[in-house]
């Protein structure tokens, strides 16, 4: 897995600019409906060629509460992740929206419209937890708790078919646990790719 970076002083920590940009863009989509209609994940539009919607759909939300909870998790976890491992975090935050969007397009043909940052946020929580479990004792506890929480949430959502942690104010909107699972799987794959690459480069240096 990705190695836990050494602890930095608060003044040395890199600014979490990508997380702040993502949350600001999501806020922009919440404020301007024109942006929302151009950015939302719309299966038919994507298949017509508007492929940016695979990534930008995650920035759109169905209401104030939907945005606030997703943005809160993204802000806390993204800033934390970017301060711990900036390159890893930014690589993940740039790739995850496309990967989660592509997974929804390939695996759920019934899903016509999708919005919400939670797939990316859940992936970010998983990646952060994978880094933390390799750190100090305190960090390891937080990592284990986060992994357990993400697992319980995802299993419950799939098993029950109904949301346990989240419910939309609009009855016609269904939660999509597949987005969370795609985020989790991509976080694990991404961490393992980085870990292998780091392992290979350290072997090269050793030789």
């Amino acid at each position: 897995m990705a190695e836990a970076p050494p602890r930095l002083k608060s003044s040395d920590r890199p600014a979490p600019w990508l997380t702040l940009c993502l949350v600001a863009l999501a806020g922009g989509c919440a404020l301007w409906p024109e942006l929302r209609s151009t950015a939302i994940y719309d299966r038919e539009a994507i298949l017509r060629g508007e492929i940016w919607r695979l990534a930008t759909g995650h920035l759109v939300h169905f209401g104030g509460t939907h945005f606030v909870w997703n943005a809160a998790v993204m802000l806390v976890v993204g800033c934390w992740l970017e301060s711990l491992a900036p390159r890893l975090a930014r690589g993940f935050l740039l790739s995850a929206p496309v990967i989660v969007g592509a997974a929804l397009l390939a695996l759920d043909p019934e899903l016509k419209i999708y919005a919400g940052l939670s797939g990316v946020a859940t992936g970010a929580v998983t990646l952060l937890a994978l880094i933390l479990v390799q750190g100090s004792r305190g960090d390891r506890s937080i990592g284990i708790v986060s992994l357990a929480l993400v697992s319980i949430k995802t299993i419950t959502e799939f098993a029950g078919g109904t949301p346990w942690f989240a419910q939309f104010s609009d009855a016609s909107i269904r939660p999509v646990p597949l987005a969370h699972l795609a985020g989790i799987v991509w976080a694990c794959v991404f961490a393992s790719i980085i870990h292998r690459r780091e392992g290979a480069s350290s072997t090269d240096r050793g030789q």
């Binding site: 934390w80 999708y114 942690f165 939309f168 939660p175």
Partner: protein, 266 residues
């Protein structure tokens, strides 16, 4: 002129339309199943007229154009909802007086609607002569003096039914009272105007109440899912949401770690 106190009543009834001749209609037993997004039809309940050859000829004095305008105002309230796919304004001619649920089934199949909102009304107009009506004896006075007092009471009701299960989903009322005066000559014209104004005001109140009832209905579905079953049509809208509980725990974990980093020896 010189007709004394008069009362005009025009009305239609949801109960008379749906359960003609049934003194004690049996309640539906099946649980309503709503397939989202919904297709909704809105219609005025036909008045119970005795003229079977021309059932729509004198539909309570409300013209078809007026009805469509009122239906459109009510439909606006539904159009803004994400869980409603389409709204059909059903013309009066599609519903038969005392047509019952069989008539609703026909219309539902024809227009592909799952839920129908039936609008019914009851308008009563009273007119009394006051002391100024004595001037009507001068003929000219009937043109000048407002010797008639008019009182128009309007009650409107919107009742939403799931056609398949025959369940009443929710209802919303709207009422108005219009008071006015008229000269002996223009009394009929003034009564028509008051009637129109009465419908207008009652619809305005009905739309307000409808907003409240729609919200209450949505809450009821969430609180008591056993009363109404919600299904989704193929091709759905989905959202990725972490939810308040998960977000709260993550934020607390983040806050705890930040405090621990700031005061590691505390």
């Amino acid at each position: 002129m010189f007709e004394g106190a008069r009362k005009t009543d025009r009305s239609s009834s949801v109960v008379t339309f749906l359960y003609p001749g049934a003194a004690n209609p049996l309640p539906p037993t099946a649980i309503p199943v709503l397939r989202l997004p919904l297709r909704v039809g809105i219609a005025f309940v036909p008045t119970d007229t005795k003229d079977t050859r021309h059932p729509y000829a004198n539909d309570g004095g409300v013209s078809e154009a007026q009805k469509m305008l009122l239906l459109d105002r009510v439909a606006q309230e539904f159009r803004s909802r994400d869980y409603i796919q389409a709204i059909e304004l059903i013309p009066s001619t599609y519903l038969r007086p005392a047509g019952g649920f069989n008539n609703l089934d026909q219309v539902g199949n024809m227009l592909q609607v799952d839920v129908v909102v039936l609008l019914a009304y009851d308008q009563v107009q009273f007119t009394n002569e006051n002391i100024l009506s004595l001037a009507y004896w001068t003929i000219v006075g009937a043109y000048i003096f407002q010797g008639n007092k008019n009182d128009t009471h309007t009650l409107m009701e919107a009742a939403a039914y799931d056609i398949r299960s025959r369940h009443l989903l929710f209802r919303a009322p709207g009422a108005s009272q219009v008071k006015g005066t008229a000269t002996g000559i223009n009394i009929q014209e003034k009564l028509r105007k008051d009637g129109g104004q009465g419908f207008d005001q009652a619809t305005q109140e009905l739309v307000k109440n409808l907003q409240t009832q729609l919200e209450l209905f949505r809450e009821r579905i969430k609180r008591a899912p056993e009363t109404v079953k919600i299904e989704h049509r193929p091709g759905y809208t989905g959202g990725g949401a972490v939810g308040g509980l998960f977000a709260g725990i993550i934020v607390l974990l983040g806050l705890g770690r930040w405090l621990w980093l700031k005061h590691p020896h505390a």
